[in-house]
Symmetry: C2
Subunit: 364 residues, 2 copies
């Protein structure tokens, strides 16, 4: 069963017959012959042939491909996309179809949003993470000067087409990574949503369509209230202050680094600890939530240097004035933004997370 979620100015289609919906959308917009596909080396191999086969009007659509991986979220990739769009003679009626994960959606959205002062783009996310996170909400961006999303725009896609079919071949860790963001949406939304999601027994048996719909709805409600990210939208950053630091650290130190959502899951455990210490989150809820997060997102925890993690957090531009300001929870569904946290408590929280994760010691 397919459904449409109206996100203000665009629709998110979730369902198994996504290809038919996409074909109908392209027909309605009369952009046949003017669609350009953006893929990375992974989606070029598997997703591109499939979408061309199933959506007849895309059979001869030109494509632009970029290297896979977060490193491609760069100005150089944009330059490549703009050069190719210019070669293809894309005009203001052209439409860029981003076929891939979060990197493709973010960089493709940005490149399109400024090409000829903005051409339309649509997202066809192929990872769980990009289905529930980057493809919804109208943020585009690239990394620059060592900072994530330093350059970007707030531009809504013309539409999003989500099919759980892509998830069948997704590696477990990528599934966990996306599920962490779904848990986060529930945690900052309501006890009811959290209870529903936390009863999941195994991701393999998940009924993805309603779960993704629910997560997109939760995110969209928050985005709709604060599109430009000035207040309540920042609650979506829950788990990300510590999570981003763990992710950066892991990228530098681990052969097989943490996935984004895995780092967010570990970050959430730390920030729940801080919520207990500083915001009155009951201890039994901390214990309950941490256990559920570990069970459903069993991210590997390699030994970390907590002082180094703290240093990364302090250099983050979002933590102005040397104070760490994560999103904390007074309770499930009751997030608080801009709560300053002393560095020592962050070290404690990292220790708690490492114990919970069943690891022996920091600094080993």
């Amino acid at each position: 069963m397919s459904s449409v979620i109206h996100c203000g100015k665009y629709d998110v289609h979730v369902g198994p017959d996504m290809f038919r919906e996409l074909e109908k959308f392209l027909a309605r917009r009369q952009v046949f012959g003017n669609v350009v596909l953006l893929v990375d080396r992974n989606t070029r191999q598997h997703a591109l042939p499939l979408i061309r086969e199933r959506v007849p009007s895309l059979q001869d659509a030109p494509f632009i491909d970029v290297e896979a991986g977060e490193r491609s979220k760069s100005i150089d990739t944009c330059t490549h996309i703009w050069n190719r769009l210019t070669e293809i003679r894309a005009d203001r009626q052209s439409l860029l179809l981003n076929l891939g994960g979060g990197m493709i959606c973010d960089v493709g959205g940005f490149a399109a949003s400024v090409f000829l002062r903005g051409i339309d783009f649509i997202h066809v996310p192929t990872t769980l993470l990009s289905m529930v996170d980057s493809s919804v909400g109208g943020k585009t961006g690239i990394n620059f000067g060592g900072f994530k999303n330093q350059i970007g725009t707030f531009t809504r896609p013309a539409a999003v087409f989500i099919s759980p079919a892509w998830l069948r071949t997704l590696p477990d860790r990528e599934l966990h990574s996306g599920f962490a963001e779904m848990l986060k949406h529930a945690l900052i939304s309501s006890r009811e949503k959290w209870d529903a999601l936390s009863q999941t027994s195994a991701l393999k048996d998940m009924d993805w369509i309603p779960a993704i719909q629910d997560s997109v709805l939760m995110k969209n409600r928050i985005v709709h209230a604060d599109f430009r990210d000035r207040h309540v939208r920042r609650t979506l950053n829950f788990g990300h202050t510590v999570g981003h630091a763990l992710e950066s650290y892991s990228l530098l130190h681990d052969a097989d680094p943490l996935r984004h959502g895995e780092a967010v899951a570990l970050g959430m455990i730390c920030e729940l600890y801080l919520s207990w210490k500083l915001c009155g989150l009951p201890e039994e809820i901390l214990t309950e939530l941490a256990a559920v997060i570990r069970r459903l997102v069993p991210a590997p925890v390699a030994p970390v240097d907590p002082e180094a993690i703290l240093g990364i957090m302090k250099s983050d531009k979002k933590n102005a004035g040397d104070r760490i300001r994560p999103v904390l929870l007074q309770d499930i569904g009751r997030p608080v933004i801009n709560h300053p946290v002393p560095g020592e408590l962050v070290l404690e929280a990292l220790g708690f997370m490492t114990r919970i994760a069943g690891e022996a010691a920091l600094n080993s």
Copy 2:
């Protein structure tokens, strides 16, 4: 006497006491200490010391400087600006003050509009052209892949501060260049506006404040009706189809190339000729208008290769399908967009323009 023109979401201040207005604006916004100035090598030398002296809160404001000239309207300049903003630790509350001509306003506006997904910027235009053209209307952009404004955004400035004081030291040809756009605004607006402006005897004696106010109002009325440039805003392109081609040609062939507005003035004469041939513009009006344009914007006309000019026009992405589509005039104040014009007529128009300009021959 100073005045404020409300352009929808931002104000354009025109008057001699622009510095005081700017100081008041910065105080109201409470951005003291968080303003970054963007200058080129010219405005760094003269305008930067003056603005710092006259606006006390800018005394210690950091600045970013770029090479002067159209070549700096590039992605490399943006990279430089973003690097400097990152170094300065600019945040979402920072404001970029663009102090210069059209290039500075365009590139600074674009760089700001995507830094951290958009920080505020204001324009302090220092040339007549940028006062009446690029600083008003909310278009930002850079050149890319050989095309003008290929990358950019529609983003309104937070405010514009126009002082005719900057014009005192502006070279004559720069003054002519800006005046050509003012003539264009009048020509596409109404007979009344045209009659008022065409009675100007010498630019030296011009009463600039009311004239600039009037021109900004005319442009703003058109922009307001079609911010995203889908229909009536395109009438602002009058004179530019042929004008851009003459400008590009001159850049390649002349030691001292045509200024933008000079090329537009010559382009307007050509497009008036086409309007007479194709749109019923009375011949006596063609003769009258061409004479006034030549008198007030005496652009030098070097010999040109008309076939080469035509080739440049055909490669322009705005002229899709090999047809040239300039804006034509049925009468003063009655522009028509998307009128296709055969190449031979363009050659005739170039011949007419060259005769009017009192030059001997094409292809000499």
